[in-house]
């Protein structure tokens, strides 16, 4: 089990979608923490609490992007990934992005 705490391991100020525009972007987080662990087949828990807040563009790119990059189903991602936050709206939104990316994969 691989546990990553965004605030401690990445940044307290997550911002933006693409890596070319910033090291604290969703794409940078996905590539540095999520994809390496998931490619090894590890179960991943992401702890979201402790940051100043999240933009939807960061969340969509970081988590919806897993489906696009690994080209696997949303169900497979959700089986390996646990989102942990006391803010249940964040957990729901992240799950929604993963499912939406899974649906677009079949279109």
């Amino acid at each position: 089990m691989y546990i990553v705490n965004v605030a401690k391991d990445f940044t307290r100020y997550p911002a933006g979608r693409f890596k070319k525009n910033g090291d604290t972007s969703g794409e940078a987080f996905r590539e540095s923490f999520l994809l390496p662990a998931l490619r090894k087949g590890e179960d991943v828990t992401v702890q979201l609490d402790g940051t100043i807040g999240y933009g939807s563009s960061f969340l969509e790119e970081a988590f919806g992007g897993i489906v696009r990059e690994l080209n696997i189903s949303a169900d497979d991602v959700l089986a390996k990934l646990t989102i942990d936050s006391k803010d249940s709206s964040l957990v729901k939104e992240v799950h929604q992005y993963i499912k939406d990316a899974g649906l677009r994969r079949h279109q």
């Binding site: 525009n21 999240y54 563009s57």
Partner: protein, 163 residues
């Protein structure tokens, strides 16, 4: 013997009345405490919802200003993300008072829609120039803000609905 039996009858009668009075007092007292608690709970819900509606109004204004500006405003981005997080946690805490009811679930979904409307597009690294005032961004922000306030008010009014 007759006198003793009469005394016992009096004692039992008096005892019965005393128990009836004590039990009655306990019931009335409990009902009174419950009524006070319900009133306090309703007051907290009303104040919380009013305060949340004010927060949504401020967020709406901030978001409109941010997306209208040609220059990216990093301070505004941080403030809006913090405000949305604050809004989300405060809506979540309402559940402790209202219980898990349909209006509450709607309010939680509204927070997600509002965050998406404000921060999905033309936000942070994607903020390039000012958004057109008639663009979809402003329409989505306005719709999400109104829906969030409407559902919060429904949640508030539900406390006083005729049962």
């Amino acid at each position: 013997m007759i006198t003793n039996a009469g005394n016992w009858n009096e004692i039992i009668k008096f005892g019965g009345q005393a128990i009836f009075i004590v039990v009655g007092w306990i019931v009335v007292n409990k009902l009174s405490i419950k009524r006070e608690k319900d009133k306090a709970r309703n007051d907290i819900i009303v104040k919380s919802v009013d305060s949340l509606c004010d927060l949504i109004d401020r967020l709406f204004d901030s978001a409109r200003t941010y997306h209208s500006k040609a220059e990216r405003d990093r301070d505004a981005e941080v403030k809006m993300k913090m405000s949305i997080q604050d809004l989300s946690l405060r809506v979540a805490s309402l559940q402790d008072l209202t219980g898990y009811i349909p209006s509450y679930i709607e309010c939680q979904d509204d927070v997600i829609r509002l965050r998406q409307a404000i921060t999905s597009n033309h936000f942070e690294d994607e903020h390039t120039g000012s958004a057109e005032l008639n663009s979809e961004i402003f329409q989505r922000i306005a719709e999400a803000s109104l829906a969030a306030k409407r559902n919060l008010i429904t949640l508030k009014h539900r406390q006083f609905s005729i049962k």
